[in-house]
Amino acid sequence: MEDKKNGMSDEKIDQIIGNLLRIAVILSAVFVITGAVIYLMRHGAEMPDYGVFAGVPKNLRGLREIIEAAWQIRSVGIIQLGLLLLIATPVARVLFSVFAFLIERDYMYVVFTLIVLSVLLLSITGVII
């Protein structure tokens, strides 16, 4: 009943969010597949080396560096951009929830959702740890 007067029901919002998530996952998979094809063509005959941990090169860890690598049609950059997009989908979902709670004027949950959003953003931008 509460939902009706706001013109947009929880279900409607959920459906929009669900569809956006699906599009984001498909887009991310397209990036990963494109990068994979180039990667396997260029490096397919090399030997994999994951036995000893050295950490991924610094230029594949931050947003700006990853975009730069993808722009230069470096296969690993394109894959990493797809993965970054994927990691961003739950963040987008939380962001939409902020607006959903704002529309419902549920300010207590606006605050809760903002707390979750800030933990996510701090983690992804590398500010904490």
Partner: protein, 278 residues
């Protein structure tokens, strides 16, 4: 084995894991790390990074299917996310400072438990009960559709559920898994949400929790594109297949198969962890 063969085999293994995970409703993330670390000799930290990415893929892909049914409880999910995301960041921080063998031992113990849960899990159905003070103040009580019409339910034991969720988040960050099983326990058995509500809300939370750990993993160089690529694609397609399979076939046998597989992985993980094989 060159990269082409390696990627193909990892893809097939991940496809199988994603399929079993979705068909049994237990999630495939928990078998990806042992598969890569034990089967392919991948360092456990790279394995955790790839696994975490695949966990996000399945959670976000399944979301659009779940939300239509109207089961998930966004308020409960969001409130508990405060616990799981902070737990995840704490767990990921611990993961970057302890030895891979220690991670393997914790992983082995979690696998033993998951195996038990896969084979024997029972769930208590929510008793309608009386409204709980705190849950009511947090506006968590809700309703969900059943064949007999809409049923109202009350949430209880919020602090207990919050505590279990912090542990679930910490394990997710420490091991690179979704911790779906533990999340369902917190909501189903501690907070007494209806089972369907617990599982769908858990799916929503898994992606958000994993994203919190993924940030730390990305900055620490755990997420390798060459390795994550076949894992993410394999798990994603496998779980899409598994979701359809779920509708057609009884899952009892699958769950037992899964339990045996997980138990075998647990034993090997513990053995290698204790003998310092990582």
């Amino acid at each position: 084995m060159d990269i082409l063969e390696f990627s193909s085999l990892v893809f097939l293994g991940s496809l199988f894991a994603g399929f079993l995970g979705a068909a049994t409703g237990l999630g495939g993330g928990v078998v990806i790390v042992p598969l890569l670390a034990l089967g392919f000799g991948v360092d456990i930290r790279y394995a955790m990074g790839a696994s975490l990415v695949s966990v996000i893929a399945t959670s976000s892909a399944a979301a659009s299917a779940y939300v239509k049914e109207g089961f998930s409880n966004l308020r409960v999910g969001m409130f508990l996310e405060i616990a799981t995301t902070t737990g995840a960041v704490a767990g990921a921080a611990v993961a970057t400072s302890i030895s891979p063998s220690a991670i393997a031992i914790v992983f082995g113990l979690v696998l033993v438990y998951s195996s038990y849960q896969s084979g024997f899990s029972r769930h208590k159905d929510a008793a309608p009960g009386k409204p709980d003070k705190l849950a009511t103040r947090l506006r968590m009580n809700s309703e969900y559709p059943t064949p007999e019409g809409t049923v109202k339910y009350y949430v209880r034991a919020v602090p207990g559920g919050f505590g279990v969720m912090f542990i679930a988040g910490a394990l997710s960050g420490l091991l690179g898994i979704g911790s779906g099983a533990l999340k369902v326990i917190a909501m189903d058995q501690v907070m007494r949400l209806p089972f369907k509500v617990s599982t769908t809300t858990s799916n929503f939370m898994i992606g958000v929790t994993a994203a919190a750990s993924a940030g730390v993993f990305l900055n620490r160089g755990y997420i390798d594109p060459g390795l994550s690529m076949p894992v993410m694609l394999g798990v994603l397609f496998g779980s899409l297949l598994g979701t359809h399979f779920l509708l057609n076939v009884s899952t009892r046998i699958l769950r037992i198969v899964f339990a045996v597989v997980i138990f075998a992985l647990a034993v090997e993980m513990l053995y290698k962890g204790l003998t310092g094989g990582f």
